[in-house]
């Protein structure tokens, strides 16, 4: 059944008509063209679809778009500000923390959320916080190193 929803994505207001069966992920990708969040598993295991919903990261494949009425959503497209990459993004590039790149938007959202809550995580804390994101290329080592590097870069800024 069709419903109209109003919500914000990366600080812009949108009003769209969606089907109640549509996930937030599909609405973001196919109604609004935010192709950063990806569908890997579609059931909450892989984290490729991670976005922030009202400031909390969620798997957007496990949210009905209709639930986002009045919400504020941030996708990976909203992480860089005025064309300047976020330190987490910069660290992923500098540390080669990706190969195919499919999982990267999800990892960036999870890593950014972790560092906002815990600016100086241990390696173990990073691995735990990223346990909801799967990468089938890298073996995770470079991702973990990138998050540690981002943590250091952010502490220098602060």
């Amino acid at each position: 059944m069709k419903r109209e929803i109003d919500f914000k994505v990366n600080s812009e207001t949108y009003s769209i008509v969606i089907d109640t069966r549509e996930t937030l992920l599909d609405a973001l990708r196919y109604r609004l063209g935010f192709m950063g969040p990806k569908e890997g598993c579609g059931n909450g295991n892989c984290g490729s679809c991670t976005v922030a919903l009202n400031g909390m990261i969620v798997d957007s494949c496990l949210v009905f778009a209709v639930e986002a009425e009045g919400a504020e959503v941030t996708t990976v497209e909203g992480v860089a500000v005025d064309g300047k990459l976020h330190p987490v993004q910069q660290a992923f590039i500098e540390n080669g923390a990706l190969q195919c790149g499919f999982c990267t938007p999800g990892f960036l959202m999870s890593a950014k959320a972790l560092l906002e809550q815990n600016p100086n995580p241990t390696e173990q804390e990073i691995r735990l916080a990223l346990s909801g994101n799967l990468c089938r290329c890298t073996g995770y080592d470079k991702i973990v190193r990138a998050v540690m590097a981002a943590s250091q870069a952010l502490s220098k800024v602060a």
Binding site: M1, R21, G44, G47, E67, S131, G132
Partner: protein, 289 residues
């Protein structure tokens, strides 16, 4: 997925009305981490989905000494695990809430949903039973309160009747000289479903030499989360030495009625209950203030 209508009521009477009118063809939606996957797989196909996250009663999260901890059924695992009174007074609940899936899942998944999905392996449920928690259920015909363990009927089945909702989970303030812990076994580090889990609560006698009372809850080894009553009764009045803890593990294992499945054999689960019972009791004892 079957087409469905959607409603986001802002009050309980509105929600009861919606759930009752659809005559069983509706499902409440809290965090959606179980329901949405089930709908995607056509295991559940409600004609109406009722988002209950906008109902104030289901968002309560409060603690005071007398009333204990009140958790609205739609409150997320993250909110519970980061709530200061939970971290200070209910460590077993805090540790269980952050075992449920990933950060992304914990940010959405509700404790009430963990109850209503009624998986025998639900990680956030055993600590509630071990702390002696209750649940409040309400519907068009009124409100009832029951012991948390009595909420479950079988795998995926609860006592909820037509038009009824789980409203709140209430956990009494732990008494003095008590501690609790929850442990589960999974073959990997994170993001898995318990092969077996045990939640233990223990209160020591006034002179701290013996066990005053204990509650032991088993997960993933029976059709529902269950209390190991014989083991609990055996502990009362005993000194908690190594021999006693081993014996109580044996008694808890005797109460378990596991199945063999892809996660583990029944025999293996029985061994896990012995070990986890002992370890959770030890951990609970270390936490006695």
């Amino acid at each position: 997925m079957r087409e469905f209508a959607y409603a986001a009521p802002q009050s309980l009477p509105e929600a009861f009305d919606l759930l009752t009118r659809t005559d069983g063809d509706s499902r409440p939606l809290a965090g959606g981490t179980d329901l949405i996957t089930q709908m995607k797989e056509n295991r559940k196909s409600p004609g109406l989905v009722v988002n209950v996250k906008r109902i104030p009663e289901l968002n309560v999260l409060a603690w005071d000494e007398r009333q204990g901890l009140r958790i609205g059924a739609a409150v997320s695992c993250t909110r519970i695990a980061t709530f200061a009174p939970v971290r200070e007074r209910y460590p077993a609940l805090a540790e269980a809430c952050i075992l449920v899936g990933s950060v992304q899942i914990q940010n959405r998944a509700a404790l009430g949903g963990n109850f209503c999905n009624a998986a025998p392996s639900a990680d956030a449920v055993p600590p509630v039973l071990s702390y002696g928690g209750k649940v409040i259920v309400a519907g068009p015909t009124g409100r009832r309160e029951l012991a948390a363990e009595d909420f479950f009927v079988g795998p995926g089945q609860t006592v909820l009747g037509k038009g009824e909702l789980l409203i709140e989970i209430v956990i009494p303030t732990p008494p003095p000289r008590s501690g609790a812990a929850y442990l589960r076994f999974i073959p990997r580090e994170e993001m898995d479903i318990a092969v077996a889990g045990v939640g233990s609560f223990v209160q020591l006698s006034a002179d701290r030499t013996r066990c005053e009372q204990a509650r032991i809850t088993l997960a993933a080894v029976a059709p529902t989360p269950m209390r190991a009553r014989e083991a609990e009764e055996f502990l009362a009045g005993k000194t908690l030495d190594a021999a006693t803890l081993t014996q109580v593990g044996e008694l808890a294992a005797r109460a378990a009625k596991p199945i063999s499945d892809v996660r583990g054999s029944a025999a293996y689960r029985i061994e896990l209950v012995k070990v986890l019972t002992r370890r959770t009791l030890q951990k609970a004892l270390e936490r006695v203030s």
